[in-house]
Symmetry: C2
Subunit: 206 residues, 2 copies
DNA sequence: GTCTATATAGTGATAGAC
DNA sequence: GTCTATCACTATATAGAC
């Protein structure tokens, strides 16, 4: 089913505004104004603001989980390194994604339930989890990584990655950085985070 | 100047609601309803919603910087350990503080400028920064800590601490945890974070 | 100081003309 | 499919009675 170009444009503009300002602070009038049409048209295509939002939210939410696949046939350290690279790349190209998701999940109970349901439905993730865990346990057993829960390690990594992008607007605003400097900063942060993680989990028995 | 008890109650209630739902999602009508008075009274005491909010925001913002003082006469590792303890304690007793501050700073340009100005005004922070940095450089020079920028280390620590509390609503909601379990979880996270940090920066030359 | 009433503006959503 | 007009609602803020 081919979409009307205007419908596409509304969807596109809504995405920009929702990502920029969140659900509450974005009105259908704002969207219409930016598109250059009238506000009724937004409701004609998507009926409610909520339905329009959820199309965007569920798409963005899937991006969050898109990096969990791990390259088989390799060791834990390489897999983790690749994961950090992939996730960082995703976030560099979608800088507002972390705050957008977190904000909506924290602010609204129904979004949180929706998100939770999606996670549980996707049994895939359990599969990935146990694959990761087996690799980690092997490294621990063989004395290359100090004993650590996968859940803890995951939280460490996610904290470091996500907060980098949540705090990015403060960084670029406080220090008046331009796009080139921001890119340099982000690449620097990626390496610093990797260094902390890999040194932090490395067993000192070797 | 003694405050009217109702004025105090409005301020208190506004604080709860702003911390819970943020500026946008809290109306002066909400506040009045929870206090048990009428909406006009909120405006009588504070004139505008913005002025009421800023009283709370600036107070909360100061809390963010309240843990920077470092205990003199000690080594870097101990000082960092104490800092993490102090900050974690502050956040455990003010769990909504991180998201509240971040949310307002990201959503509104004027709040960001206000925050920035406050940071710059407080030259105190520079003093603390160079004190921390001297101690760190000493540890690096003597081979106990691997070379690292203080800015990077600070960002690591803040990321790990702050994200723990930003994501806390998701944790307690997803896994249906009660208050006791949450406390256990938080204490566990604190130790896990310390472990990562201290192992991550420790020089392997010793 | 506390109330009711209201001015003004903005919201999401729909009806109906073209 | 796109528009104008409008409804019902909620918001902040103020005026004025008591």
């Amino acid at each position: 089913m081919k979409k009307n170009p205007l419908e596409e444009q509304i969807l596109q503009t809504a995405e920009e505004l929702f990502l920029e300002k969140g659900f509450d602070a974005t009105s259908t009038t704002d969207i219409a104004k930016k598109v250059g049409c009238n506000q009724a048209l937004v409701h004609y295509y998507f009926r409610t603001k909520e339905k329009l939002f959820m199309q965007i939210f569920s798409k963005k939410q899937e991006m969050v989980f898109s990096c969990l696949k791990l390259s088989e046939e390799t060791d834990f350290q390489t897999a983790l390194n690749d994961f950090i690279d992939a996730y960082f790349e995703l976030l560099m190209q979608n800088r507002k994604l972390p705050f957008f998701i977190i904000n909506e999940l924290i602010m609204r109970d129904d979004r949180r339930q929706y998100f939770r349901k999606k996670v549980i439905e996707s049994l895939e993730y359990l599969k990935y989890y146990s694959a990761w865990n087996m690799m980690l346990q092997k490294e621990i057993a063989e004395g290359r990584i100090r004993p650590i829960e996968l859940a803890d390690l995951t939280l460490h990594v996610v904290s470091l990655l996500v907060f980098t992008f949540i705090s990015l607007p403060l960084y670029s605003d406080f220090f008046k950085k331009d796009e080139t400097e921001i890119r340099t900063y982000l690449n620097h942060r990626k390496e610093a985070i990797k260094e902390l993680i890999f040194n932090g989990i490395k067993s000192n028995r070797i």
